[in-house]
């Protein structure tokens, strides 16, 4: 007695289902292989591309720009850039958003002067960045960085204290009192030494 071969029409069962799965896996493998090969060749192309010598920013260890102003005032940041390379160098300062510990972020409308400068070898140029402090800016200590755009890594930390005019006056009075106290104590110690 002969028995006919049963051919199921369900895609997930039987020999054709297994072949379909194998075919799907093989197609996926080939597609992924082609994609990775292309990516490899692109990266190889990038590695073989001509080098463009660049510039690195090296700030002094303790370099940090600090300033304070009341809301509505203007903060001025000054930074000297010295070109230690053997050819001209272009400098374009730009400030990152400044963030306070409370979470307030200040996108300062900074006015850099010059906006972009060409420095000859050995030249030192002072870059001035003016920051108008908005009247509605909450008081606080805003931190960010001054970037010299296009230079690999390296930035100069910036801290701007936004304090009310009265707080600034109290702070300067306290400073003056501290200085007077220090001077008088020095005088006293000198007098004691004499006696």
């Amino acid at each position: 007695m002969s028995e006919g071969v049963r051919v199921p029409n369900e895609p997930e069962s039987g020999p054709s289902g297994a072949f379909a799965e194998l075919f799907r896996l093989q197609t996926e493998f080939q597609a992924r292989l082609a994609e990775e090969t292309l990516r490899y060749f692109r990266r190889l192309q990038g590695a073989a591309a001509p080098a463009a010598p660049g510039t690195v920013l090296v700030p002094d260890a303790e370099t940090e720009l600090r300033a304070s102003a009341p809301p509505g005032g203007v903060v001025e940041l000054r930074l000297e850039a010295e070109n230690r390379q053997r050819v001209h160098c272009t400098v374009a300062p730009a400030l990152t958003p400044l963030v306070d510990a409370s979470g307030a972020t200040w996108f300062a409308a900074a006015d850099a002067s010059p906006a972009s400068a060409l420095l000859a070898p050995g030249e030192v140029r002072t870059l001035v960045v003016d920051l108008p402090v908005p009247r509605e800016l909450p008081l606080g200590e805003y931190r960010g960085a001054l970037l010299l755009q296009g230079f690999r890594d390296g930035a100069v930390p910036v801290t701007v204290s936004v304090r009310s005019a009265s707080a600034r006056a109290r702070s300067s009075k306290a400073k003056a009192a501290t200085t007077r106290g220090t001077k008088s104590s020095r005088r006293t110690s000198r007098t004691r030494k004499r006696t």
Partner: protein
């Protein structure tokens, strides 16, 4: 209140040959030579990816972030993203190594100001260095907004640099004295 003037030094990258007239000239010559070996699509794609990479950096600054945010919330951002997606520009530019467009611009400008260019030109051909590991980094997604911000910064720098190049010899007087000549000027405009 004024903060004290702190100083930063601008130096050569430690793992590179440094910026000299010879290395900058070699880099420019190699770039031109490479154009003969790659397709136009690859060249433009690399430049597009380069502007997008610059835009990602500029987007970290306050003016860049403001510009990006403004574009993103308006119609130009939405339409730009739609175009880049439908025409698969993002996919194309993201697959190519980004050209260091700002470095290249600054290096070419430095060549224009080099006082030893003529002597260095006589040394051609100068073998150029390859980008190496720096150029083979995994390319990041090049979006429309990154490209727009990067291209804006690049154009801004081109304008200010060209003005700075012309500044030392720019004539600031808007009136030129009449040439020393005995005969009066004649012409149809002077009737």
């Amino acid at each position: 209140m004024t903060a004290g003037p702190d100083r930063v030094r601008l130096v050569d990258a430690p793992d590179e040959s440094g910026r000299t007239t010879a290395t900058l000239l070699a880099s420019l010559a190699a770039r031109l030579a490479t154009l003969l070996a790659i397709s136009g699509s690859d060249a433009i794609g690399s430049l597009t990816a380069g502007f997008a990479a610059l835009g990602r950096e500029v987007g970290k600054t306050a003016p860049g972030a403001r510009l990006r945010s403004a574009l993103e919330t308006g119609r130009p951002g939405a339409n730009g993203n739609a175009l880049w997606s439908a025409l698969r520009i993002e996919e194309w530019a993201s697959s190519l190594p980004p050209s260091p467009v700002l470095d290249q611009l600054r290096n070419d400008v430095a060549l224009l100001l080099a006082d030893d260019l003529e002597e260095t030109l006589e040394l051609l051909p100068i073998p150029g260095a390859a980008a190496g590991a720096r150029g083979s980094a995994e390319p990041e997604a090049a979006t429309f907004l990154d490209f727009a911000v990067g291209f804006w910064w690049f154009c801004r720098e081109v304008a200010s640099t060209v003005e700075a190049l012309a500044e030392p010899t720019l004539e600031h007087e808007s009136v030129r004295p009449a040439p020393a000549s005995e005969t009066a000027p004649e012409g149809s405009l002077l009737r």
